[in-house]
Symmetry: C2
Subunit: 193 residues, 2 copies
DNA sequence: GGTCAATGTATGCGGTGCTCACATTGAGCC
DNA sequence: GGCTCAATGTGAGCACCGCATACATTGACC
């Protein structure tokens, strides 16, 4: 890698700059386009194509970073849950991530991902395993795979339903309360006798 | 309403034709644009704007139709479930709808919906109520709202995870088996003693 | 039969992703 | 130090998009 040469013809580290710029636009909720990212990075419209073959590749890189952030968010400062109540907090954290960074969350999950991006595949697997481990710790007697999938489904579905305004909620606190209640209710349900 | 005048200057029933054409393109998995729909309907690129103020309005109309189809699909030829097993089949039907008509399902759920379209809001509410009724019938002792939300979350989340290829599955049969197992597992989970 | 609102068309603007030919330059070799 | 070359930037251009605006056609009603 050559030393950065900011201000000269060659940018120095365009790839990283493009990712950072694009991520910033996502956080600000702005629409996203290769050209817009290039513009904001102060570079010609075609320069990004030297570093990403197409738009999807840039999105994949952002998604991978988002998945790592999500995993860190879920794991960070929190022990693996041991009770349904603690598990519910895990789910709340998942949904809150989605609401805090909606555009990024959609990029991570809201489209068919290409399985070519090794980095992205690995980051997704890490999230999957983290959720599975959380569930297995709380419900050791159940089939871990089935239950982990169901548990992921609950929080993932709720996240998207709130994101897409299919459920009304006045505030993020209200969302958290509702998610907590729903996760607990599902895992505590008893069929009619 | 004037009589149809096919072949003449005025189309006769462009609005319905546009919806049908667009729905056909969705089913075929084709990309979707106002211009492409107009082209396929044999009409100028700007004609659709006489019937839909913008692209989102057309999408909303399609989404409303899709929501009605989903409700009919779930309710049709099936009594409300009385056991967790029957409830799981309800969930399987939800996910199978998503996999059978992926582009439509994304239109229905995969974006912030505008709450202006009265028809769409009503269709969405019907689906919501149907799911809530299904769950309440199986688990009469739980808080119906919390549980209905959680149950919707499970199937909705699984539907999107499969749609987005976050979960691998070789066939729709395999998906159905997995969804069935996961829904049952969630509602049967018992925490560590 | 004339009028008018509804509904079609043609043209054009600014945006997009992406390709291709060309420019610049830093690094490595002599 | 100068040459060469691959990496990485630029610019012009294509086909497409959503949408606005001005204009054309026509069926329904008086």
């Amino acid at each position: 890698m050559p030393e950065a040469a900011r201000g000269s013809y060659h940018h120095g580290d365009l790839r990283a700059t493009l990712i950072a710029t694009a991520m910033g636009m996502l956080e600000r909720g702005e629409a996203f386009s290769i050209r817009a990212v290039a513009r904001e990075a102060g570079v010609s419209a075609t320069a990004p194509y030297r570093h990403f073959p197409d738009r999807e590749a840039l999105e994949s890189a952002l998604a991978a970073e988002g998945l790592r952030d999500l995993a860190a968010d879920l794991a960070g400062g929190r022990a693996l849950p041991r009770t349904p109540e603690e598990l519910a907090e895990f789910g709340v954290a998942y949904v809150e991530f989605a609401l805090r960074r909606p555009a990024l969350f959609r990029l991570m999950f809201g489209n068919e991902c290409n399985t070519d991006d090794e980095e992205r595949v690995q980051a997704a697997a890490a999230v999957h395993e983290l959720l599975a481990a959380a569930i297995t710790g709380v419900f050791p007697d159940s089939d871990p795979l089935d239950l982990a999938l169901g548990g992921w489904g609950v929080v993932h579905g709720l996240a998207f339903l709130y994101l897409d305004r299919k459920l009304s909620a006045a505030s993020t606190e209200e969302v958290a309360t509702q998610v907590r209640a729903s996760v607990r209710a599902v895992f505590a349900a008893r069929p009619r006798t």
